[in-house]
Structures are given as structure tokens and as C-alpha cells.
């Protein structure tokens, strides 16, 4: 029976996963032990005479295996089973030993020994089953742990990969951020350049108007000066004659003319200063300004500018200035630019309308059309209002919605920067005010009216 135990032990060791993995070289040895145990079993069964010797050989081997289970790593998987088959081994040894030294005692107590043998086997089987169960549970736990380990490794690998990805993305985003910052910087530079060039473009439009506006007062300065020279000659003659009334008349005329010379000199001066102010970058300083004068000045500049560019162009201007408006604190050159933009647009709208009317082939209607710009200032409760109205083409809603957007223009390419109204909007907003617009389109062929009115509101 001992050999059966050995066969079981070797078979177990041979098939146990721990030995398979850790000690592959022992596989052969266990196989040989298995075969040897089988041989011994066969010898014991076949040759009856060898029975006792063989038994002791088996006892020795079993004891060694038990000993090895505790002292040799390779046998360690047997450890849990030692308790299981140790009683069987011990029962056999005690049985055989007693039989050897006291055969009589053994014979009389044989039943007891057989009972002990049976219990040892039951113990073995029970232990074996329990161990197997435990082992299976342990194995299950082990597999679970291995799986967890694998999962952990996988997640670790994923984490590492993610970290690399995150680092890459961070680098990408940083690079993008830097590129965007650079672009933003460039855009800001471009914006200020555009604002400047818009200013210059409107100055270009103004040049002819300015020339005309300077030419007129200069003509008066020339003419009144010439007149005064003549009058002085007459005065000399009258002095010799001694006609006192005439002398008084001439002197008062000369004085009046001198005032006119000064007036027109100052007018030219103001225009040059205004032009310089317009071309210069904004000082951003608010100054007390006569809004009526400012509005009138830019209305005239715009009118003469357009007239000089297009000689066929003409329009009536009707002004209605509120004399009680008083002085208002504004950045005058900027508000001037806003007025200029609105007036320029108004003139453009009426000249377009005029062209449309000429194409109608209804000469009566087209002759009756009077291109007109109305400029109106008003003091209202919370501030002031400047209204610029024209009876030009009018605007559809789709255009009205977009007119304050940068680069939006209805003018043909090259004629408008599309910045005028958007800059105007910003300027007025910076003054704590707003620009609003109302418009109507009527069918020209039916004689319906079209108009557009912009209202600049500036709070006090």
C-alpha cells in the first residue's frame, strides 16, 4: 500500500504547476520515481517473499518524502498532504514494527490495527479532498491575483501611454497657444495699421474737399486785401479833399474788411488744423467741443471732397443745428471721423440713388429726385444726438444687420474698406454712446421714398 502512496506523491509532484514552472529538470526524476514505485509495487505483488523487505523500503521512501516535503523546495507542494498521509505511513510502520518484534501481540490486536489503518485511510481521503478543495480555492485566488496583476500591468501600461500622450498634447497645445498669441499680436498690429490706413483713406477722400475749403477762405483773404489797398488809395485821395463823411465810410469799410480777412484766415487755419488732427493718431483726450461746428465742418469737407472727385455729383444739404446744445466733452477728431463716415455714406447713397433714377427712363421722376442730406443736432435729456439722414437708396434688413461688422461693405471692391462704420461704432461706444440706424426702401419706379437715418447718441 505504501507504494500506492508514493505513486500518488510522485504523480502529484510531477503534475503540480509549481514544479512544472520552477523545476522543469525534476520532471524526469519524478517520472523515474513514479516508474520505480510502480515496479516496486509490482515486485511486492508478484514475489510474495519480498513482501516484508519491500514494505520497509516503501516506509523509508515515504518517510523521506515527508522529510523532503519540509526541507526541499521541490517537494514543498506535498506539504499540505503530509498531514493526510502521515497517519497511514505511521500506522503501517507501527503495524509492521509490532509484527516484527511482537508477532503474538500483533495477532491478538490485529483488529485494532486494521481499524487504525482504516481510519488512517479515511483521514487521508478526507484530508486529500479538503486539501484539494482548498488548493482549488487557492489556485482560483492565485489566478485572480495573476489576472489582477495583469490588469494592473495593463492599466499601468495604459497610464504610461496616456502620460506620454498627455505630454505630447501639452506640447502641441503650448505650441498652438504660442502660435495663437503670435497671431493675436500680429492681428492687433494689423488692426492698428488698418485703423490708420482707414484714416488715411478717408483723408485721401477729404483732400480735395480740404483743398476747396482752404481755397475759398484764401480767395476771400486775397480779394479783401486787394480791396483794402484800393480803399486806402481812395482814403488818401479823400484825405486831400477833406470829405470827412466819405473818410469815415472808407475807414469803417477797411476795418470791416480786415475783420473779414481775419475771419477767413482763421477759417483756413481751422481746416488745416482739423486735417492734421485727422491724420494724426488719436490723442484720446476729450476736449470741450462745439458739436454744431464740428458737424458742419465735416459735412462740408465730405461734400467738397466728393464733389472734387466726381464733378457730376451734387446733393442738397439741410442742416438743423440746436443752438442750445452747448459744449460737449468728446475726442473731437474721433467724433469728427464718425460724422465724416456717416456723411460720406449718406452722399454715396444719394449718388447711387441718382444713378438708379437715371436708369429708370422716367425723366420726370428722375428730374424730380432731389438728393438731400439732413444733418440735425439735438440736446436731449441724457446727452446729445446727431442725426444724419439721406434720401438715398435705403438698406434692406440683411445689409442693416451687418453694417457695423468690420470689413462689411456694399461698395464695389476698392471703393470701401468696410471699416468706416465698424470703427465709428467703436468710437461712439468708447464715448459711452451708441449709433443706431433706421432705413426704408421704397420702389423707385412707383415713386416710393427710400431713406436711411443714422443717430449718434453721446451721453453727457
Amino acid at each position: 500500500m505504501d507504494f500506492i502512496l508514493l505513486i500518488i506523491a510522485f504523480r502529484f509532484l510531477q503534475t503540480h504547476s509549481q514544479t512544472k514552472e520552477l523545476f522543469p529538470e525534476w520532471q524526469g526524476i519524478f517520472l523515474k520515481g513514479l516508474i520505480a514505485a510502480g515496479c516496486f509495487l509490482a515486485i511486492q505483488v508478484i514475489f510474495d517473499g519480498t513482501d516484508i523487505l519491500m514494505r520497509w523500503v516503501a516506509h523509508t521512501l515515504n518517510i523521506y518524502v515527508v522529510y523532503a516535503a519540509y526541507n526541499r523546495n521541490v517537494f514543498s507542494p506535498l506539504k499540505p498532504y503530509v498531514y493526510a498521509f502521515l497517519p497511514v505511513v505511521l500506522v503501517y510502520i507501527v503495524q509492521d514494527f509490532t509484527e516484527l518484534i511482537a508477532t503474538d501481540f500483533y495477532t491478538s490486536w490485529e483488529n485494532w490495527f486494521e481499524t487504525a489503518e482504516l481510519f488512517a485511510w479515511i483521514w487521508l481521503v478526507a484530508q486529500f479532498i479538503i486539501n484539494r478543495k482548498q488548493r482549488k480555492a487557492l489556485e482560483f485566488e492565485r489566478i485572480k491575483a495573476v489576472q489582477k496583476e495583469i490588469e494592473f500591468k495593463n492599466s499601468q501600461r495604459l497610464k504610461d501611454a496616456l502620460e506620454v500622450q498627455v505630454a505630447e498634447r501639452t506640447a502641441e497645445i503650448t505650441a498652438q497657444k504660442e502660435a495663437l498669441e503670435k497671431t493675436l499680436h500680429e492681428l492687433k498690429a494689423t488692426q492698428s495699421q488698418l485703423i490708420q490706413s482707414e484714416k488715411m483713406a478717408s483723408l485721401g477722400e477729404l483732400t480735395a474737399g480740404i483743398a476747396h475749403e482752404i481755397q475759398n477762405p484764401l480767395n476771400f483773404v486775397t480779394n479783401f486785401s486787394e480791396l483794402n489797398i484800393e480803399l486806402l488809395g481812395e482814403l488818401k485821395a479823400e484825405l486831400e479833399k477833406g470829405d470827412l463823411d466819405e473818410i469815415k465810410q472808407i475807414v469803417s469799410d477797411i476795418a470791416g474788411n480786415e475783420e473779414k480777412i481775419i475771419h477767413h484766415g482763421k477759417r483756413a487755419d481751422a481746416i488745416v488744423k482739423g486735417m492734421l488732427q485727422h491724420s494724426r493718431s488719436s490723442t484720446g483726450v476729450k476736449e470741450t467741443t462745439d458739436i454744431n461746428e464740428l458737424a458742419d465742418e465735416y459735412l462740408r469737407l465730405s461734400y467738397h471732397g466728393l464733389r472734387a472727385k466726381d464733378k457730376s455729383f451734387n446733393a442738397s444739404m439741410e442742416t438743423d443745428f440746436d443752438e442750445t446744445i452747448g459744449l460737449v466733452d468728446v475726442i473731437s477728431q474721433e467724433i469728427g471721423r464718425v460724422i465724416l463716415n456717416l456723411v460720406n455714406n449718406a452722399f454715396y447713397a444719394v449718388s447711387e440713388k441718382k444713378k438708379q433714377m437715371n436708369n429708370l427712363e422716367d425723366s420726370e421722376r428722375s428730374n424730380n429726385y432731389k438728393p438731400t442730406i439732413w444733418m440735425k443736432t439735438r440736446r436731449i435729456k441724457e446727452g446729445i444726438e446727431i442725426r444724419v439722414k439721406d434720401n438715398g437708396t435705403g438698406m434692406p434688413e440683411s445689409v442693416k444687420d451687418k453694417i457695423f461688422q468690420p470689413f462689411f461693405t456694399t461698395k464695389p471692391t476698392g471703393l470701401g474698406t468696410g471699416l468706416g462704420l465698424s470703427l465709428s461704432y467703436d468710437i461712439v461706444k468708447a464715448h459711452g454712446g451708441k449709433i443706431t440706424v433706421a432705413s426704408q426702401i421704397g420702389e423707385a419706379a412707383k415713386g416710393e421714398e427710400s431713406w436711411t437715418e443714422f443717430v449718434i447718441f453721446i451721453a453727457d
Partner: protein, 127 residues
């Protein structure tokens, strides 16, 4: 006695002309009338039947009706009235248009009163 009309949107022109032709006006040879827009000029001409004005000097560059438009209207409504242009822009385009529309003379600004006086003296002597 002849009556002439000066049309210009610059009001100081009146002061200038009145002083320049003071002697002529005082001696009763000349009467000056002024209008500050084309519309105003036409109204003035229309208010007298028959028109007493024999000569119109008009600026070209005026808001509303331009001098050239006024010229055409006067030429159709009052063909007997002479019209001369006075413009700050002595460009050929304006000159050609004015002459084609029947303008008598074309003066440039600043007004050369010597040549203007010659023209006026010529009309006075024609009378």
C-alpha cells in the same frame, strides 16, 4: 442802369461786390442783386416780369443746384439773360460744359476784379 445778379453760396461775396462796385452803384449805373443758391436765383428772376436782371454771374460749386444746372435753366427760361461763370476750379471740363451751355465768360477764383469790371463796364456802355 443795369441790374446784375451774383449767385454764390459764400455770403461774403456780397460784401466784396458791394464795395468793389460802390462807385458804379452810387452813380446809378449799376444795381446789384445777390442769391446764395441756384433755387434762390431762379426765384428772384421769376419774381420780376419782365426780368430786370440782364446779367448773371454764378459760382459753379454750390450745394443743391450747381452753377452749371442754373446756367441751363436760365438759358431755357430766360434766354435773353447773359450768364458768366465764376469758379474756383478753372479746369477744362467745367469750362467746356459752361461754354457749350451758352455761358458768356468763364472767370476763375480768386476773382480778378479788373477783368470782371471790364466785362461789367462793357455791358454798361452797351446800354
Amino acid at each position: 442802369m443795369i441790374k446784375i445778379l451774383i449767385v454764390d453760396d459764400e455770403r461774403d461775396v456780397e460784401l466784396l461786390f458791394r464795395q468793389k462796385f460802390r462807385k458804379e452803384v452810387r452813380s446809378g449805373l449799376l444795381e446789384l442783386a445777390f442769391a446764395f443758391s441756384g433755387d434762390e436765383a431762379l426765384k428772384l428772376l421769376d419774381s420780376e416780369h419782365p426780368p430786370q436782371v440782364v446779367y448773371v454771374f454764378s459760382d459753379i460749386n454750390m450745394p443743391g443746384m450747381t452753377g452749371l444746372e442754373l446756367l441751363n435753366k436760365i438759358k431755357t427760361q430766360f434766354p435773353s439773360i447773359c450768364v458768366s461763370m465764376i469758379s474756383a476750379y478753372g479746369d477744362t471740363e467745367n469750362y467746356k460744359k459752361a461754354m457749350e451751355s451758352g455761358a458768356k465768360e468763364f472767370f476763375t477764383k480768386p476773382i480778378d476784379f479788373d477783368s470782371l469790371r471790364k466785362e461789367i463796364s462793357r455791358i454798361i456802355s452797351q446800354e
